[in-house]
């Protein structure tokens, strides 16, 4: 199980539920950003992602494997002045 801080809220992702987490080459499990977004029903949405203070370009969602304690910000555009 890994814990991610998403938009300031801790969230746990375990291998046993329906998160489509794949076995990695290592001993644990791996979850990339594409899979995380699918799990959160955010795939294909107009969002931007920051991981531990760094922008993650959309083109790199597949290759960014999340690790325990990662801090993610997932943002959208909203009305504002």
């Amino acid at each position: 199980m890994i814990q991610l801080i998403i938009n300031g809220q801790p969230r746990n992702f375990s291998v046993s539920n329906q998160t489509r987490i794949q076995k990695s080459d290592h001993d644990g499990v791996s979850l990339n950003i594409t899979q995380l977004l699918e799990h959160m029903a955010l795939q294909g949405k107009r969002i931007a992602v920051e991981r531990n203070g760094e922008i993650v370009p959309r083109s790199r969602f597949d290759e960014q494997v999340l690790t325990n304690g990662d801090r993610l910000e997932i943002v959208v555009a909203v009305g504002g002045g």
Binding site: I6, N7, G8, Q9, M40, A41, L42, K45, R46, I47, A48, V49, E50, G53, I55, V56, P57, R58, E73, I74, V75, V76, A77, V78, G79, G80, G81
Partner: protein, 266 residues
């Protein structure tokens, strides 16, 4: 054509509008259409994680193909928050680099923190952003922001959301006289005459949100603002007559009246 040029791009409308505080997306869209604005500001916020996946998205209602979206840093009180917010915005908007920077100093008045604003602007400009910057109406701050490479300076007319109108036209005048980048009044406009006055002073544009969104009829106010900005601009270009306390020069001919007592004695 009398275009507004920002960072090398021409816009025919000199009215820039925000997209906040509307009742729903339908009203947002209708009001913005009525305003004729081409540049519209948006905020960047955390997505609601429990949201309905079919919830409409602002960018579907106001597509970037149709408008120049100007992501802002509203609600940011530090350099770091503002810079990170705009990096996210650039990613969200596919590399779009024109942004509105504001770094606030006080949640009660929403007055800008100019020291932090300057620092954030410097970082963003180094990273290739085209920064339109919200500023207090201090001519020195405006000059410094221009010197470090901001593409437009946007002084407040009065405090954000106050609708108090233009409280210090003299400072705005000095900023306008000194600036070589567009000067856009941002914040404080309450009604159409305020927008017209800003344009008559020689501002290059006006940015507003609450004046339209908080009107009893936002769509009608959006239309009024469009006309006010156009009217103010034309009056500025036309060059107003000089003010005099009184004038012995009436608009109608002085001679030829049938007034009695003027006939020559025969």
């Amino acid at each position: 054509m009398d275009n507004l040029i920002i960072a090398g791009k021409a816009y025919s409308s000199r009215l820039l509008v925000g997209t906040g505080k509307y009742r729903d997306f339908s009203e947002t869209r209708t009001a913005i259409e009525a305003s004729g604005a081409e540049i519209i500001t948006v905020a960047i916020r955390r997505t609601n994680l429990g949201q309905n996946p079919d919830e409409p998205n602002l960018l579907d209602v106001l597509p970037p193909s149709q408008y120049t979206l100007l992501p802002n840093t509203a609600g940011c009180y530090t350099v770091d928050d503002a810079v990170r917010t705009l990096r996210l915005a650039r990613e969200l908007l596919d590399g779009h680099s024109l942004v509105k920077l504001e770094v606030l100093g006080d949640p009660k008045t929403l007055y800008p923190n100019m020291i932090e604003t300057l620092k954030a602007a410097e970082i963003l400009i180094k990273e290739g952003f085209q920064v339109m910057v919200y500023t207090c109406d201090d001519p020195i701050a405006a000059r410094q922001l221009e010197e470090i490479g901001c593409v437009a300076v946007m002084p407040l007319a009065s405090l954000i959301g106050s609708g108090m109108g233009i409280l210090n036209p003299w400072n705005l005048q000095i900023i306008i006289d000194n600036a070589t980048v567009p000067v856009i009044v941002d914040a404080g406009v309450g009604t159409a005459s305020d927008a017209a006055i800003a344009m008559e002073l020689g501002c290059d544009g006006v940015l507003m949100n609450t004046a339209i969104a908080a009107a009893q009829n936002p769509v009608l106010m959006a239309s009024a603002m469009k006309k006010a900005v156009e009217a103010g601009r034309e009056a500025y270009l036309a060059g107003r007559m000089a003010k005099k306390l009184y004038s012995a020069s009436p608009s109608s001919p002085v001679s030829g009246t049938i007034a009695s007592g003027k006939d020559k004695a025969s």
